[in-house]
Every structure is written in structure tokens, then in C-alpha cells.
């Protein structure tokens, strides 16, 4: 069963576009910071950096930093713009190293840096962006914020290592899975919003609310992303469908499928074998998609994602009603219903 598309919002109405419109001048400043700080006399470095920054999707993380700053402070100062750029820098650097890691051939519908320039340049450009990120932070001058980035980076890396270690094993638990997606997605969302709140001098309660919103939004986002990897078509998602499956990545749909299938059944045994194979093909994917549909796995994941989205909305109670808060609320619905 595919997730219902009845609630899919039109592109020009989605809350990400509303955020982008609301902060359009600030996002231009963010982009300028990114471009200027990716500069190097060694010209291949800014070339690769620009490629990945420009194919950088919807800038959801810097938009969240700006939104958090405005929620807490009423207006956005230069420092929040710098922090928004720093968050995107970290995201971009991890994407570059992730390209090496995943050997994925497509990211957001464009060839990845890796396939264009090779592993070596992806690693070095990622390193270069990490260094430039820390240069921006040193210039900003707060050891606390430097420390936040150090901790965030460590958590992201530990999550990626856990993810690699759990490949092609049918023994990944829900706990492992949630630890992985926490590090992979939720941690940087949390940092993005926490930074906005901190530079706008938000209260302890406000920052706690922002972090909880970010955490739960991030988990809901990733849960649906992992469903979309089995259901979205290539043109819609901009990357090949079945990416996780072919890479041997065990995400929640498979974990729930294992839970739901009768113990000792031949199908369950075949599923285990399929997962543990070195490679899986299109026929394997088709068969697993049928099982996922038969056992109504996607609706189970969606129910869980909605619980996280609920918690995210609840966390915003600490802020008064206004247009911006309303957009952030809409975003929690959007991450659930964005699927084609």
C-alpha cells in the first residue's frame, strides 16, 4: 500500500517554499557566505564546492536556523546568518564524504561530485569545507558554539559508521535503526535550530522546545524518506528508487516486515537470504515491495512518523502563535505527506 497522496500540497504552497520566501534575502546572504568561504587559489576546490553547494536542494537546515532565530528574537542578526551558513557548510562537507562512502551515483538527480572528480577530490574538498567551517566558527569567536559543532560532527560520523556496520544484516534492531537516523538526520536539524535560538538569546525553555521540535521533525522526515526509497519514482525523488535496498541498508520498512512475517515461514527465510546476499537485483526489489505492501508496512511507518510529527508540534507550544510558527507547524504535516 502506497502512502496516500491526497494531501500532497502543490509545490508553490509547501511550507519549505514559504520559509524560503520569508527569508529570501537572508538565504542570499547565506549563499554569499558559502561561496566566499569556499574560495581557494587552488581552483578545483571552489569548483567542486560550488557544484555541491549549488545542487544543494532546499536549504532546509539554514532556513530552520533563521526561523529559530526569528522565533526567539523577533529579528535576524548577522550572526544568525553566519550560523545558518555554518550548518549548510557542515551538511555539504558530510555529503561530499558520504558520496565516497555510499558510492551512490545520483544525488538530487545530478551526478555526485564523486562520479565527476573521483574519490580523492571528494575527500579533500570535504576536508577543505570542514576546515573553512571551523575558520568561520573561530572568527565568530564562541568556544561553546565551536564545541556544539564538534559534538554534532562526532555524532554524525558515529551514526554513519553504525549504518555501514549494519549493512546486509537482518539483525538490525529498531533501537539500532533509531540511533542511526538520529545521527544521520535529527542531530543536524537539532543543531540548526539550537544555533538559531542561541544566537538570538532564546530562553532555556525556548531552546529546549526548538531542539525537541527539530529532533522529532528530523525523525519523522527520515522515517518517510525511508518509505519513499521503496515507493517514490526516480523523477520525483531525484535519486534512484531502492537505493537503500540495493546498498543493503536495513531501514524501518524492512525491520517491521521482519517483525510482521510469520516466524519460521519460507518467505521469511527467503527474505533473510535476500538481505544477506552481496547483491540484490530489481526482481528482489519487486518481490520485497509486494511483501511490504501485503503486510501494510508503509502505513505502520506512517503512523509512527505521525506520532513524531505530533511531538514536534507540541514542542512549539512554548512560542506564541504567529505566521512563522504556523509555517513550522505546516512543515510537520508536509514531511509526512510530501510523498508523490
Amino acid at each position: 500500500m502506497l502512502i496516500s497522496t491526497s494531501l500532497a500540497t502543490k509545490l508553490d504552497m509547501n511550507p519549505l517554499n514559504e520559509l524560503a520566501l520569508l527569508f529570501s534575502d537572508k538565504i542570499l546572504q547565506v549563499d554569499t557566505i558559502l561561496q566566499e568561504n569556499a574560495y581557494s587559489e587552488v581552483s578545483v576546490l571552489p569548483l567542486i564546492s560550488s557544484h555541491i553547494i549549488e545542487s544543494g536542494g532546499k536549504r532546509i537546515r539554514p532556513l530552520l536556523t533563521l526561523a529559530a532565530a526569528e522565533l526567539c528574537g523577533g529579528s535576524i542578526e548577522d550572526r544568525a546568518v553566519t550560523m545558518a551558513a555554518c550548518v549548510e557548510f557542515l551538511h555539504t562537507a558530510t555529503l561530499l564524504h558520504d558520496d565516497v562512502v555510499d558510492e551512490s551515483s545520483l544525488r538530487r538527480g545530478k551526478p555526485t561530485a564523486h562520479t565527476l572528480w573521483g574519490n580523492q577530490m571528494s575527500v579533500l574538498t570535504g576536508d577543505f569545507l570542514f576546515a573553512r567551517l571551523f575558520q568561520l566558527l573561530v572568527h565568530d569567536g564562541s568556544l561553546d558554539i565551536l564545541n556544539l559543532f564538534v559534538q554534532t560532527t562526532q555524532k554524525i560520523i558515529e551514526g554513519e559508521v553504525l549504518q555501514i556496520s549494519s549493512k546486509a544484516t537482518p539483525l538490525v534492531s529498531r533501537e539500532d535503526y533509531f540511533a542511526i537516523i538520529q545521527s544521520k538526520t535529527a542531530v543536524l536539524f537539532e543543531t540548526a535550530l539550537e544555533l538559531g535560538g542561541r544566537v538570538a538569546s532564546g530562553t532555556v525553555e525556548q531552546i529546549k522546545g526548538l531542539k525537541s521540535y527539530a529532533h522529532n521533525l528530523g525523525i519523522a522526515f527520515q522515517l518517510i524518506d525511508d518509505v519513499l526509497d521503496y515507493t517514490a519514482d526516480e523523477s520525483g525523488l531525484g535519486k534512484p528508487i531502492g537505493n537503500d535496498f540495493f546498498e543493503g541498508q536495513i531501514t524501518l520498512p524492512l525491520i517491521i516486515l521482519f517483525e510482521k512475517m510469520p516466524k519460521g515461514s519460507k518467505s521469511l527465510e527467503k527474505l533473510r537470504e535476500t538481505i544477506m546476499q552481496i547483491n540484490r537485483d530489481q526482481a528482489d526489489l519487486k518481490w520485497v515491495q509486494i511483501l511490504l505492501s501485503q503486510y501494510e508496512v508503509f502505513s505502520s511507518v506512517k503512523i509512527l512518523a505521525e506520532e513524531y510529527a505530533d511531538k514536534a508540534r507540541y514542542a512549539l507550544d512554548v512560542f506564541p502563535e504567529n505566521q512563522l510558527k504556523d509555517i513550522l507547524v505546516q512543515l510537520t504535516h508536509f514531511v509526512i505527506h510530501r510523498c508523490k
Copy 2:
């Protein structure tokens, strides 16, 4: 012509071993900091880190940091030990990413992390060590020193990118070559000694002297290293001979050979073609070794290296005579005559 081995010092007399003996208790503390800060609950990370830290050679960089601190301050405080560990952390992280970059199969005679755990884990463990390095520096609390590490990291990366860009092209100039070895070796030597001087409150003149010593020692070291890649045997160097040559790396021996060979000669044309080939074999190496010997290239490089070693010794004039300074002077001779 092979470099003379007549001056080769016995292992137990070499100045690196003397430094190691002089600072043996401090180097143990450095190793403890490295081990403790490589810890992660995700156990594969400290496993890989330990592998590369333990196969970490002679600890020349942290020894230089400790030596610089003692030269400037008379005694070594905890902070100098931390800085020595930070320098080694940066070195280790770049080695891990270099393993991905070079696809070299041997480093210091042991299998590289890359061949044991694959590209993915080498990249992520390198990232993890970068993050832990910056955590140590944040804890140390000096934005100036953080900035020094950021600048050093950037220069190392830019040098590696230049080096990759100059592969398999016969057009590498002396200027390009010196820019590359400056970033590849001299920069981290400079930072190692500058850090020691700074945390021991060395004077401006002392720190200038330390940086000049480090720069010139680093260049001399790398010049001879690039000769050894054509002359040392595998058991002596701990890595395969001809590594640079097979990777298409154009180092000073080849640059000088191009300069010395008669313009328009058939041999010169054949040499160009050999360099520009996708792959070079053992027969190519043998032929190039004969040319290098015939044109007395190695002695040209050695003369140049000795000029840098002279400058390094001269830079130490700012310090009074003592045992430690004498060891650092001996080190400038050792890097020239260490072959085999």
C-alpha cells in the same frame, strides 16, 4: 649514483632516538592522550584509530613540539604535551584520508587502514579524528591556536589537491613542486614547532627561528624522501620503492632530469611519453633510474637539500648552545644522510 651511505648513523645513535629518549615520559603522555581521545562507543572507530596511531612511526612531529617548548621555556608543561598530541592527531587524520587518496597499499611496512577496512571507514575515521582534534583544541580554549590548526589543515589539503592535479604531467615546475612539498611536509613541521614555542611563551624572535628551522628541515627531509623513493630498497624504507613513479607523481628528481636532458633528444621524448602513460611498469622504472644516475640527478638534489639543512641550523642561532639544540642540529644532518 646512489646517495653515499658512509655517513649513515647507527640506529641507536640517531638524533630522533635521542629526542625520543630525552622526552620518553612525555611521549608516553602524548600516546595516552591519543588513545583516550580516540575512544568511541562505536568500537570500530578506536580500533582503526589505534591501528594507525600505533603504526605511527617515530612521532617526529610531537617530539619537535616538545623540543620547541623546552628550548623556549626550560621545562615542559602539560599544555605542550596536549599540543604535541594535537599535532600527531592532525597527522594521523591526514594519513587516513591520504590512504583513500593515494590508493597506496603499504604505509610504513604495514597494510594501510584502507586495505584493511575500505575507503568508507578510512574517510569516517579520519573525520572522527579531525573532530576529536578540534574537541581537544576547544577544551584547550585558545582561539588563536584553533586558528593555527585551521590554517594548517587548509594548507595541507590545498597541497594534496595540487599534488593530485600535477600527476602524470611532465609540465610540473620547480615552483609547483616546492609549493606541494611545503604543504605536504613543511607546514605541519612549522606548526609543530610554533605550537611548542607559543605554549612555552617563546619570544617573537625565538618562534620565528623555530618556524624557519622547521620549514627548512621539512623541505630537506622531503627532498631526500623523494630521492629515497628511487634509491632505497623496500625493507629499508618500509614502503615499495618507485611509489611516486608508479603513481605518476612528478618529484624533483624527475624535474631536474627533464632540465638536464638535451632538448629535442629522443630519450627526452621517450621520458615524456613514459610519464604521461596511464601506467608505468618495472622496466620503465629501471630505465628512469639509469637516466637519473647517468645525469647525476641525486647529487643535485642532495646539494639542494644540504642548503636547506644549512638554513635550518642557522635559524637555531637565536637559542643558546645546549644538549637539546645540539640534537636538533644533528637532526638536520640526519635527514640528509638517513638513506638506507
